[in-house]
């Protein structure tokens, strides 16, 4: 779901971000608020929604190198609005932030970009689809065929994505509730990308293939006041089925999940159906972060152990969080991605 970094985007600027995810229950104010009866329109909704406070284009991928080495890849573009207006020039209140990462079993490369809207340095256009910040791009003739590229001081990647299944709407036709008191976001995914391309790592280029999962989400007031962070899972089972589930940590916790069959048919699960319990915690960047989880969705017979490929997949960005590839064992096998926010130590 990537309710991630709402805070980041709500108050993007620098240190203010470091105050963490606890302050996410901001008032929506003059911003638009997601409504249950909204029907998502494509390709228009692939583009930006400047009247909402926050939004992201969030891609994660599980990859394999020629020697069988597993890799993880992340490309994220966040939009954060200081006011619900758009426009040209420096005056536009739209701010952009990009995060890119590559995770190997024993290394984790991260880099970040920040940009102002209105001058062409960053933005998203719905059709032909193009999302960019600086030289980072996710673009293609349509949403099913995309080129994805990013680079940092010590790594880079340039890969091609091809969709092999339909778009998936979470919650109620893309209206995804985030708390018992009704906070919500618009949320859809394209979890059926095949990926091939090249990672550039300090030891040289590595050709990779694998699968990718793209999340799209926008909102203005995503969290309830008492929610301190979240744990989000995108799991791709060997059977071809997929599971998206999250826990919003609060009093009490709030969970939701979407079961995605191999053909793209979805089943949404309300609060309580999905459960995730930390099994092993690890000291990462001075914080105790769970790196091994028991994840259950009894309705589908899912009871698996989700283990980080690299426990040190810490995103040392303006707002730090944990994000990395995972392996799945137990009732189902497979790979996936895990994001954990709000572990501020």
């Amino acid at each position: 779901m990537n309710v991630k970094l709402l805070a980041v985007l709500v108050c993007l600027p620098m240190q203010a971000l470091a105050q963490g995810f606890a302050g996410l229950g901001s008032e929506a104010g003059a911003f638009a608020v997601p409504k249950p009866d909204t029907v998502l329109q494509f390709p228009a909704d692939h583009g930006a929604h400047p009247d909402y406070r926050i939004e992201w284009w969030y891609l994660t991928a599980n990859l394999t190198g020629p020697d069988g080495t597993p890799y993880g890849l992340q490309w994220t573009l966040f939009r954060s609005a200081l006011a619900p207006t758009d426009g040209q020039g420096w005056d536009t209140p739209q701010l952009w932030m990009g995060h890119a990462a590559v995770t190997t079993p024993d290394a984790h490369f991260v880099t970040e970009r920040l940009a102002r809207g209105g001058i062409g340095q960053a933005g998203v256009q719905a059709a032909p689809f193009s999302a960019w910040i600086d030289d980072w791009v996710m673009e293609g003739p349509d949403f099913n065929r995309l080129r994805l590229a990013a680079s940092g001081p010590d790594f880079g990647y340039d890969v091609a994505l091809t969709a092999t299944g339909p778009l998936v709407l979470h919650g109620q036709q893309g209206y995804s509730v985030k708390s018992a008191s009704g906070q919500a976001s618009n949320y859809y995914s394209q979890p059926f990308f095949d990926l091939s391309g090249t990672l550039t790592l300090p030891d040289g280029p590595v050709p990779v293939t694998g699968t990718a999962w793209l999340d799209r989400e926008w909102s203005s007031q995503p969290l309830a006041a008492d929610q301190t962070g979240w744990d989000w899972f995108s799991l791709s089972f060997d059977s071809g089925d997929k599971l998206m589930g999250f826990v919003l940590r609060g009093q009490p916790d709030y969970t939701a999940a979407t079961w995605i069959a191999a053909d793209g048919r979805t089943t949404a699960y309300a609060d309580g159906a999905f459960a995730a319990t930390p099994l092993v915690r690890q000291d990462v960047a001075g914080r105790k972060v769970p790196v091994e989880w028991q994840v259950r969705l009894p309705d589908r017979g899912v009871d698996v152990t989700v283990t980080a490929l690299n426990r040190a997949a810490w995103m040392a960005t303006s707002v730090p969080y944990w994000e990395g590839p995972v392996t799945i064992a137990g009732s189902h096998g497979g790979v996936g991605y895990l994001e954990m926010t709000g572990y501020d130590g």
Binding site: P13, A16, L82, G120
Partner: protein, 795 residues
């Protein structure tokens, strides 16, 4: 026992409050001079650091337009999209304030000096009416902008920082960027700069900002002055403490005879001195603050005018300098007291209480040997020394050697005087003067150093002024300088100027590496202006004719010294083109090398370098009309035109301020030295009574004696001044020809200013006469009974 000793020590000061005052005042004045100069230096440096932090100047590579003009905002975006991590900066004048627009999300150092903490609201900075960060006084000086002013003490003086969007709007420069700051860490892949933006050029980070390099010259002068003041102060402290010990010899002997252990006596005296030094140091630092606060506005104005560097005119209490001031007071006392305590430790228990013994013991061949050794060392360093430390070592050896030479030289001269004296009174005068020299020698050394420092610094500042004004005449030979923004406007400028009968001298330049050093290559049109105005440090015959024929190049002194390119040496200007050096010119303040080739050669070799700047030769009376014509016909804004007369007037006013500072420091050092003489004379007065009483008894009136005393002070001061002149000139030479070259790579020509020296000598005599006035007056009022008393008492 301890209490008894302490009480005895203290009783001395109670009985001789004047001596206590001498000691404290000497220490305090020495400290004040040192810490005052240091305070000015520290304040100015802090201002540059703030400027550098604010603007990323120096620490980051920069990208600018090749022609020096504005960069289009679209080019910035194109660079970002090609993978370049650069951040835009736009700047300009908003009223009296320099407004700097930055982009906080991409700036490598965040918002620089602007504190972005939990309280800062980036949203307010980026949007709405915006925010402007600056010091409180700068905010007040800003015209009304509608933006919210935020007080930020760490922003450079007279500078305001705001978002680039607001800055572009306020400066009326929408879509324009002046330079791009290049982040130190760049991504793995990015397209080459010349593919993305061939009009832009990247310059590597400099060790320090241009401003800092230029102003370093001024600061070096101030630092040298500070060191000299310190040396003067040290001699004064030394004198004061030496006399204080001298006068207490009988008391110390008595204490020891009564059974006070030597070690405890020494320890307690050390503690006593440390306490006195601490108190005097505090007073001195406070006085230094007053001195600095009084002078800083002038220094700030000087630096601003000279180099465009903004220095706050307000003084902040920085721990660095008040701690160093206290350290100087304590350390100076320790050095001065060390010798005195050492001689106390070796004093035989039953030593004579004869006070002259100690002072006389200080004389002798040791002093001469030390002095000659130091002067030889200084000469050796001047000849063979390398680097700035050697330069300063040379200065130090020169000064101390010169000071130590004073007593032997004075003794010699006075012996001659005595030999030539006729009549008993004259002979007595010279003999008595010789007798007094040891007691006065430390104060006279202080006077010598103060004089020498003043001669040296005045020479340096005045030479700098002459050179710089001459340099401006040469460099700003044209009456009007115009910058165009593009080729179209450049053509319009030429047309407008020529239609009004002006000679147009295009200024062609580009940055290239020459002989392995960063340098600027200029193309000069063959025109009488250059031949008339330019002066070379060294040149071959018919240099301009050969230059015009493309047979060689001219280089600046910096390149000559750095790359060791003498006349005739070949300079590789472009691939496959090496030309001999025809002339070397002074280029004061420029941190990089410079090569001048003739215009046709420049255009042939560097077709990419277009002329956007022009010098216009017009009738000085027509400058105003020409400005208007250029504004109307070519659309050149007034800010893009520089009036030569205005620059010269500004420069001269700047130097006036420099002189204010120098003169104030001159008078201050002389006053301190004069004070040292006064204190020495007062201290000696009581001791001299036994010498004077017999002369008085033989018939010289007290009035006559006082007159002779006054004359003696003036004679000694005149002799000292005569010695100070060569020492000061040597000092000036060392500063200009050794230290400046080592520090900046260019040598300042030295000029002599005899009237100034005469005035300084007069001031020194005046200081000595004033210092001697009160002791002489006291002598003339000494009750005859006291003089008679000399014959009653055992000494």
């Amino acid at each position: 026992m301890t209490r008894a000793i302490l009480s005895a020590l203290a009783s001395h000061w109670r009985r001789n409050p004047l001596q206590l005052f001498t000691l404290l005042a000497g220490l305090a004045l020495g400290t004040a001079l040192w810490s005052g100069v240091q305070a000015i230096n520290a304040e100015a440096r802090a201002s540059y650091d703030a400027a550098a932090a604010t603007l990323g100047e120096g620490s980051y590579a920069q990208i600018t337009a090749r022609d020096g003009g504005a960069i289009a905002q679209a080019t910035y975006v194109a660079l970002r999209r090609a993978g370049w991590l650069v951040s835009p900066v736009v700047q300009g004048r908003l009223g009296p304030v320099r407004l700097v627009g930055i982009e906080p999300l991409t700036a490598p150092g965040g918002i620089g000096a602007v504190p972005v903490d939990g309280s800062a609201d980036l949203g307010a900075f980026l949007s709405g009416t915006g925010q402007i960060f600056a010091r409180a006084d700068t905010l007040e000086a800003l015209p009304t902008t509608g933006a919210q002013g935020v007080i930020a003490p760490d922003v450079a003086p007279n500078t305001a920082i705001t978002d680039i969007g607001l800055a572009q709007r306020l400066l009326n420069r929408a879509g324009q960027i002046d330079r791009l700051i290049v982040a130190p860490v760049q991504p793995l892949t990015r397209r080459p700069l010349d593919q993305v933006a061939p009009d832009l050029v990247e310059t590597a980070p400099q060790g320090g900002s241009d401003v800092a390099r230029l102003t370093d010259s001024f600061h070096l002068n101030l630092t040298a002055f500070g060191l000299l003041s310190f040396a003067v102060g040290l001699f004064i402290v030394h004198g004061a403490i030496g006399l204080a010990f001298e006068q207490r010899r009988p008391m110390l002997r008595t204490l020891r005879a009564l059974g006070a252990p030597l070690r405890r006596l020494i320890a307690l005296m050390a503690v006593e001195l440390a306490a006195l030094a601490f108190v005097a140091g505090l007073i001195g630092v406070a006085l230094g603050y007053v001195v600095a606060a009084a002078l800083l506005p002038d220094v700030a104005a000087t630096l601003r005018g000279l180099y465009g560097a903004d220095v706050s005119g307000q003084l902040a209490l920085r721990p660095v300098w008040w701690l160093s001031g206290l350290g100087i007071a304590m350390g100076g006392t320790a050095v001065a007291a060390g010798g005195a305590l050492w001689s106390l430790a070796r004093m035989p228990l039953l030593a004579s209480a004869q006070p002259r013994a100690w002072v006389m013991a200080r004389q002798g061949p040791g002093l001469v040997v030390a002095s000659v050794g130091l002067l030889a060392l200084s000469g050796g360093l001047a000849l063979w020394g390398q680097g700035l430390p050697a330069g300063f070592g040379m200065l130090g050896a020169l000064l101390i050697g010169g000071a130590l030479a004073l007593p032997p030289v004075l003794a010699l001269v006075l012996r001659w005087g005595q030999a030539g004296a006729r009549g008993p009174v004259a002979q007595w005068f010279w003999a008595d003067t010789r007798q007094q020299v040891p007691g006065l020698s430390l104060a006279l050394m202080a006077l010598l150093l103060a004089m020498a420092a003043n001669v040296g610094v005045s020479t340096m500042v005045s030479s700098f002024r002459l050179t710089f004004v001459g340099f401006l005449d040469q460099r700003l030979a044209s009456e009007l300088y115009v910058s165009a923004t593009d080729a179209g406007q450049a053509a319009a400028v030429i047309a407008a100027a020529e239609s009004r009968g002006a000679a147009v001298l295009p200024i062609l330049s580009l940055d290239r590496e020459v002989a392995g050093f960063p340098a600027e290559i200029y193309g000069a049109r063959d025109h009488a202006t250059y031949r008339d105005a330019w002066r070379f440090l060294r040149e071959v015959p018919q240099a301009w004719d050969k230059l015009a024929r493309g047979e060689g190049v001219l280089i600046n002194e910096q390149l000559y010294r750095r790359a060791d390119l003498d006349l005739g040496a070949l300079v590789s200007v472009a691939p496959g083109l090496a030309l001999p050096v025809l002339g070397i010119y002074g280029d004061y303040g420029n941190p990089v090398g410079q090569v001048i080739v003739t215009e046709s050669l420049f255009r042939a070799q560097f077709p990419e370098g277009t002329a956007l700047r022009f010098g216009l030769r017009v009738d000085p009376a027509q400058v105003g009309a020409m400005r208007e014509a250029l504004q109307d016909q070519a659309g050149v804004p007034p800010t893009a035109m520089i009036d030569q007369a205005a620059i010269k007037a500004l420069s001269l006013s700047v130097f006036e301020r420099t002189f204010t500072v120098t003169t104030a420091l001159n008078i201050l050092t002389l006053a301190v030295a004069g004070f040292a003489i006064l204190m020495s004379l007062l201290t000696l007065a009581a001791m001299r009574l036994p010498h004077l009483a017999p002369v008085w008894a033989l018939g010289l009136t007290r009035r006559r004696l006082a007159g002779l005393d006054l004359l003696r002070a003036v004679v000694l001061a005149a002799l000292t001044a005569a010695l100070a002149l060569p020492l000061g000139l040597a000092l000036a030479w060392a500063l200009l020809a050794v230290v400046n070259v080592e520090a900046f790579g260019w040598r300042l020509p030295m000029y002599l200013f005899w009237l100034d020296y005469l005035r300084l000598g007069g001031l020194a005599l005046l200081a000595a006469a004033l210092a001697a006035l009160w002791p002489a007056w006291r002598l003339s009022r000494t009750p005859p009974a006291r003089l008679l008393g000399v014959f009653r008492h055992e000494r």
